[in-house]
Every structure is written in structure tokens, then in C-alpha cells.
């Protein structure tokens, strides 16, 4: 099935047409949007290709800036004309090339497509010019689906808009926030379009299904990414020789290097999550994520954060030694010592075989100590990464504000299960770098628990 459908995205200037398209096509770079009016002055096409050959072609159109003048220029509807014929007649006039050139582009696009998405800034008062706009769009002979944008805003006039649209027989309406889309809003949009275009139901439902599957696939991939990172962090281990331990300066340098390694791993995860969700790393707002500009270090190894995490771990799960006790900035978050490492290894050895245990015993006998991350650090990393994944998952590609991590944060208490699934990694330093069937099994278990951490609903 290779079906093509063309949809025009129309609306008043600056109502969020390009933003809607950015979110629908997950193309952050599409068009060029700003709060400057009439930014889009050409018609630009972008395709959304489904997995079974369906192709949706969206046409981004310039804003209708002077609907009152345009309606006047269209002239009265003569008895021998249908409304679309009136539009065609207007497009042949000089006014369509000169004074109303921009509007003419919208009308031409409308005549070519299967249906139109009519984007409305629901914060705007319902004025005469908008009434003219609805009248013109509704008279092009194409199904029009009004998309109410910014409905979550405090000054949204959704009810007034709904009444106006209904007066022009546009009863099917969709609420869609291009900046912070509702859960399932995309699906609802395609389902409503399918109702308006009965002949094209199959492809539209296929697209809706595709969009849903893609979302699920991204969610799964994001969780896998978080799981991989957490396993690598838990497996991270460095052995310090007796001489290194004796020399304070060298020991401090080793601690710092180890911490830097952990941070780099975490930063990589942040970058990969951005890639996965199709957000540019260079994006000004996203670049302000605490982890990309170095503040992650302050966050991940901050004694306060760790003390808090440690306290919430409770005594039952406190495997790492010294959490919450005398945490000082130099060793915060790091577990150093043969005893602690041995303890963790014995715990792991029961299920993981005794190879690592033997190595640890040898280390202990020769005065070596091993360095690893404490549970509190893993817990904080799990919370932040999972929160970022959930936040990006729900972020529209037109969003320009900062990422709201707080809203999507998972309570530390709910991550206890995740933490215990990480423990096997402590006995396998090689998991930090390479794959093995055993690591695969541990990853599956960890993933199952990450999936159990239910998604917090966005309000």
C-alpha cells in the first residue's frame, strides 16, 4: 500500500503552524519560527513516511495576515458560483499576485490538498478578522480540522473559539499543544482527520498506529539507554595500588579521574538521549541542562544530594558503606576500600560465581583497594536520566523553554528495585565496556524493573 495524503497547515500569522509541524514530524529544524509575525512566507513541504508505505505530506503555509481585506477582495459569492470557484476566480486576479500574494499561496495550497489543519491560537480574542478567516477557509471545499493551540494557557478562550467554529459547521476540533503535547494528542489528531476523510481512513489510521508504535519504540530505546548507562556506572571499578594509596596527592588525583570517568559516561547518556529524541545537542535551551555544562558534577556528587538519596535508601538497601555518614566533598559518592568491595563482591558472588571474589581476595592480600560508585550516586543518576527521558518524550519539538525535569522526576523511593537489579554489575567490572550473555540477562532484569517504574502523568 503506497498511499499519499497531502495536508495543508493553515491559520493566522504566528498561531503556531510551523510549531505544530515541528512536533508532528519531530523536526526541530523545520521552517524557521520566531515571535516575528509572518515568518513563514513560502509554502514548504515536509513528509512523514510511515512504515507501510503511507506518506503524509504536510504543507506549511504563510499566515493569513489580512483576512478582512481578503474576504473583501474575494467579492460576493455569485449565484452561478460554488465557493471554491470563487476562490479560483480570485487567484486569477492581479490582487492575488500583489496585495494578497501571501494569502493567495495559502489558498492555492488549500485547493491542492486532501484536507487542512487550521491552527488557532486559543489565547486570541475572537475578533471579526478571525471570523473572516474561518469563513474563507471553510469555503475552500476541503475538510478543515481546527487545531486549538495554547489551550493550557491561563487566558485560553477555548469555549468562545469552539462556539465560533461550530457556527461555521466545523464541529470536529482537536486540542493540541505544540509546545507540550498532551498524551495521545497526535493519535487523536489523526483519528479526527480520519473521521473528516472517510475515504482515506485506512492510511490515516495506519499513520496513527505508526506514530504510536514509534513512540513506544522510542520509550523502550530510552529505557534501554538508561539501563546500559546504569549498568556501566555500577560496573565502573578501578583498582588502586598500594603506592597510590600511600601518596595523598596521587590518591586524590585517582579519585578525581575516576569521578571524571563516571561523569563522562553520564554525559554521554544525556547526549544520546537528546539524539534519540531528535533534539539538537546545540539547542540553546537544552544545552542548559545541568549535566551538559558541568553542573552535573555538582549535582551527581553533591554531598547534600547524596545524603538525601542515602537517607531515602533506608537501612535495608544501604549496601555501599558510609552513605550519609561523614560525607566529605573529597570522597563523596565514591566507595573506596577492600572491605566494602569485598562485601559487595560476596553479595554478588552468590549469584555470579566466585571468580570475582577470588580476584578481590587477592587484591586485599596485596594491599590494593578498589574504587567504585556508591549506591546513592547510582540512585541519583537513575532518577535524573529516567526523568530526562520522560521529559524529552513529552516535549514538543517546537518547545523553546527549559526542560522541566522536576515535573517528570521519579521519586527516589520508587527506584529501590532498580538499584537492587544493578548490584550484579558490581562484580563485573568488564560490563562497563563490553557485552556478554550474562550482562544481557542482568540488563533484561533491570529493564523489567525500569518499566515498572510507572510514567508520571503530565498534568
Amino acid at each position: 500500500m503506497a498511499e499519499r495524503l497531502a495536508l495543508a497547515v493553515v491559520g493566522h500569522t504566528n498561531a503556531g503552524k510551523t510549531s505544530l509541524l515541528r512536533t508532528l514530524t519531530r523536526r526541530r529544524d523545520f521552517g524557521e519560527v520566531s515571535s516575528q509575525p509572518g515568518t513563514t512566507r513560502h509554502v514548504e513541504a515536509v513528509e512523514l513516511a510511515g512504515d507501510d508505505g503511507v506518506r503524509l505530506r504536510f504543507l506549511d503555509t504563510p499566515g493569513l495576515e489580512d483576512p478582512i481585506g481578503l474576504l473583501h477582495a474575494l467579492g460576493p459569492l455569485r449565484a452561478d458560483m460554488t465557493p471554491p470557484q470563487r476562490i479560483r476566480a480570485f487567484l486569477a486576479t492581479r490582487a492575488a499576485d500583489e496585495a494578497f500574494e501571501q494569502e493567495a499561496k495559502v489558498l492555492r495550497a488549500l485547493l491542492e490538498v486532501d484536507a487542512a489543519l487550521f491552527v488557532i491560537d486559543a489565547r486570541e480574542p475572537v475578533l471579526t478578522k478571525f471570523r473572516c478567516e474561518v469563513e474563507i477557509l471553510a469555503s475552500c471545499g476541503k475538510p478543515v480540522l481546527p487545531v486549538l493551540n495554547f489551550v493550557r494557557d491561563a487566558v485560553s478562550r477555548e469555549a468562545e473559539w469552539g462556539a465560533l467554529l461550530a457556527d461555521f459547521a466545523l464541529h470536529a476540533q482537536v486540542r493540541f499543544d505544540a509546545v507540550a503535547p498532551f498524551d495521545g494528542a497526535e493519535r487523536q489528531l489523526y483519528d479526527s482527520l480520519a473521521l473528516l476523510l472517510p475515504a482515506r481512513q485506512a492510511p490515516l489510521r495506519a499513520v496513527a498506529g505508526f506514530v504510536e508504535r514509534e513512540r513506544a519504540a522510542r520509550d523502550e530505546a530510552g529505557r534501554r539507554l538508561v539501563a546500559d548507562t546504569l549498568l556501566a556506572l555500577a560496573a565502573l571499578r578501578r583498582t588502586l595500588e598500594r603506592e597510590e594509596l600511600a601518596d595523598e596527592a596521587r590518591k586524590a588525583a585517582a579519585l578525581e579521574a575516576f569521578r571524571a570517568e563516571a561523569l563522562e559516561r553520564a554525559r554521554r547518556a544525556v547526549r544520546e538521549l537528546l539524539d534519540l529524541h531528535a533534539f539538537a545537542r546545540s539547542d540553546a535551551e537544552l544545552a542548559m541542562l545541568p549535566w551538559l555544562d558541568g553542573r552535573w558534577a555538582a549535582d551527581l556528587f553533591h554531598p547534600e544530594t547524596l545524603r538525601d538519596a542515602g537517607a531515602r535508601l533506608g537501612k535495608g538497601a544501604a549496601i555501599g558503606a558510609g552513605v550519609g555518614l561523614a560525607v566529605d566533598a573529597a570522597t563523596a559518592g565514591l566507595s573506596l576500600g577492600a572491605a566494602a568491595a569485598l562485601g559487595a563482591t560476596i553479595g554478588g558472588a552468590i549469584s555470579q560465581g566466585f571468580g570475582p571474589l577470588g580476584r578481590r581476595v587477592a587484591d586485599a592480600l596485596q594491599g590494593r583497594e578498589s574504587l567504585s560508585l556508591e549506591d546513592s550516586v547510582l540512585l541519583v543518576a537513575a532518577q535524573r536520566l529516567l526523568g530526562l527521558h520522560l521529559a524529552l518524550q513529552r516535549r514538543g519539538h517546537a518547545a523553546e523553554g527549559r526542560v522541566e525535569l522536576e515535573r517528570h522526576a521519579v521519586a527516589l523511593e520508587r527506584l529501590q528495585n532498580v538499584l537492587s537489579a544493578l548490584q550484579p554489575a558490581r562484580a563485573h567490572p568488564e560490563w562497563a565496556a563490553e557485552d556478554s550473555p550474562r550482562r544481557e540477562a542482568a540488563r533484561r532484569e533491570l529493564l523489567a524493573r525500569l518499566r515498572q517504574v510507572a510514567n508520571p502523568r503530565s498534568p
Binding site: H12, D29, H42, A45, V46, T128, A217, A221, L276, A278
Partner: protein, 451 residues
Amino acid sequence: MSSRTDGIALPDLLLTEAVKDLEADTPLRDDAALAQALAAGDGRETRIVQRARRLAADTGLDRDLARLRDRLLLLGLALAALGMVLALLVAMALLGQGRHINAVAAIALLIAPNVLGIVVWALLTVLGARSQGGAFGRAVAALARWRLAPQHVRRVWPSAARALDAQHLTTWVLGGLNHLLWAVVYTAAALVLWAVLAFSAYRLGWETTILAPQTLHDAAQAIAWLPEHIGLPAPVPEDLDDPDASRLLGYWLIACTLAYGALPRLLLATLCTAVWRRRRDAGTLDLDEPYYRRLIARFEALAPTRVLDAEHARHAAPAPAHAAAAGSGEPGTLVLIGFELPQELALPAALLERAAWSERVDGGLEEREALLRRIADHPPARLLMACHAPSTPDRGTLRFIEAARAGSIALLLLPAPDAAQLARWRDWLAACGRGDITVHADAGAALSPHG
């Protein structure tokens, strides 16, 4: 080459997985590979594979994989040679204890390990099929991580082992090789038996202390059933004292070695080959893996957008009709217009007091023209247009400004705008060539006659 099949051909799959491992820590520079893959076709998997092929060629991974294949082939040949030697040893062990051979015991000795081997393989296959990374998978993966292996092997083997396991091929590949090896062993053993029995004199029979000789005879006849059915002569002599008995039993022994040793192994090897052939070109990538998802996101971002109805030259700024009107108007008069304001937004009382007259306009054509006529009849010295700050200025607004004839025009944004809104209106006026119009943020400033 993989376009006509539904899945991905195994060599491509192995290359793709090898590239994935290579990029685990640091992604490769792939601009050219991405562009090439984008041009190669529509399917996501096709593009990912195409990109991997190009990168594999650039980094020599394809050569490493070819070398690994050659080495495995050599290893197979060496194993086959080893099988021959093993066969010779088995045959010699059977024939080596003097000139008397207990044929029934000999065949039991030959066949028992074979049956045991097949049962173990079948069990591992069934158990391994239930979960990924079964016994064979684990063994191969462990070998793959063997640190002594040369660098080029380590670059491709772990991913190859993982990919084979993910496609449920490990058991069948290893099983096929194993069965082939044993088929060689038993065929060679039969040949050795034939050669030895052809050129030296042995006495074959069955000896027993506690069983009745007839039991062994019946057993021999039962065993002969299979070779007889597939056309191998396996005669069982009625009487061991018959001078022909040893000769007949010699044929029986060779036929049974082939029928119970080589034949089942050959059949199983065929089965493994069939499974292998079916799955070889039906490979799939786990597109839920973060690595592949990220590639998909990049491919999607590269899909071209097209400008259909291009922007023509920016509209020339409208003729400055205001220039003629400037300076005219009844001195000292101020007219206040509420332009396209929401109903609930009231005009500032202080301004209403000062204004000669004021009017709100929603924007309808007749209403607008009536208002413009009223302004034109008695042009004020100052016209103050109160506009809705959060709204976006549009050409309709500009058209009204252009048509209004007054000494000077200024805008007042209501409700009090933030910096961004103020900047937006000012920039818009400048872009329209009306930078001369002042935009006020509060009513007090708008009152001052210098504004």
C-alpha cells in the same frame, strides 16, 4: 543484494553489528556514509545496513570478517582431518584386540557415543531455543571474549556471536558443523573397517557367557533392519560355524556403522543446513536498541523538505501616505482608538479623560471604514491606537495605520506588555517601514505630548 528478500542477509547483519560495536564508545565520522545510505532507499533497515557497509569498508571491518570466515573454514578442514584420525583410532581400537571380534559388542561401542551425542545436542537445542544465550550461545560468547585472540578477530567475533545468537542460529550452525564432522568420522571408520577386513583375516562372531546365543542372533537381526531398509547389505549368518559367517558379519558391521553412525548425522546436518538457509537471509535488526533508534532519528532529520511556493521579493513598503498627513490635524486634540482589543480589556480612564473622543473597533470592514472616515473628517493632532499586547501584529493592523490620517500616530500596548512583546511590536513596525511610530508600554508615557 538484500532488497529482494524480506530480511537482511547474514553478511550484512554481521557487518552492521560489528560497526555497532565499533561505534559503542565513539561514533565514527559518517557524513558520506549517511548521505550514501539516504540515497540507497527508503527502508530504515536498508539505510542502516547501507551505512554500515560503507563504514565497514572504510574501517576494514569487512576484511576482518572475511578473514574470520577464512579462519573458520581452515578450522573446519583441520577438524575434518582430526575426524579422520579419530575414525582410524576408533576402527583400530575395534580391530586391535587379536583376531577375534565380537560384532554385536563392537557395534554397540561404535553407536553408543553417537546416540548419546545426538541426544545431548537435541536437548541443548530444545532448551536453548526457549531462551536466548543458551548453552551454545554462552560458550561462543565466552570464546569471543578470549583475550588472546588476534585484534582483527576480536573486532568482529563478539558481535558476530551475538548476532548469530539473536537470530537463533548458533545452535544450528554449531550443530551442523558437529554433525558434519561426525558424519565424516563414521564414513571414514566404515572405510577403514572395509579396508582392514578386505585385506586381513578376522573371525567375527558373538560371544556370551550368560546370554543365550539366540538372543544375540536376534539382536543382530533386529539391528540389521535399518541398513537392509536403506539398501545396504547387512546379512546375519544363521550359524556362526558356517565358513561364510565372518564374511557376512563383516558386511553387517560396515553397513551398521554407516546406517547408525554416518546416516543420522548426515540427516541432521541436512536439517541444520536447511534451517540455516532459511534464516540466513531473514535477519532482523532490533530497532528498539538505542543505537539504531539514534540512527533512525538522524536519517529522519536528513529527509529533505521542499519549498513549493517560494517567497518573492519582500513587499515594497507601502507608499508613505502618512508623510502628507504629518503636521496636519487640529492642534492639541487626541483621539483614542481601541483596536481589536478583547471585550473585557477596558481603555485606561486617564486617557479617556484626555481624549477628544474615543472608539473601540473590532476590525469589521464597515466599522473600520466608518471610523477612518470620522478620523479623516476631523484629523486629530495625535492618534493613539491601543492594541492587544500578546497578539501578533499583522497586515490588517498595518493597513489601518496606513489609512488613518492624523498629525502623529502612536501605539499603546494593553495590558502592560513584557519586554518581548514590546520588542515584537517595535521590530514589526520597523520591518514595515514605520519605525517613526512610537510604541508605548504604559498609559502615563502615552499621555506625554512628546510621545
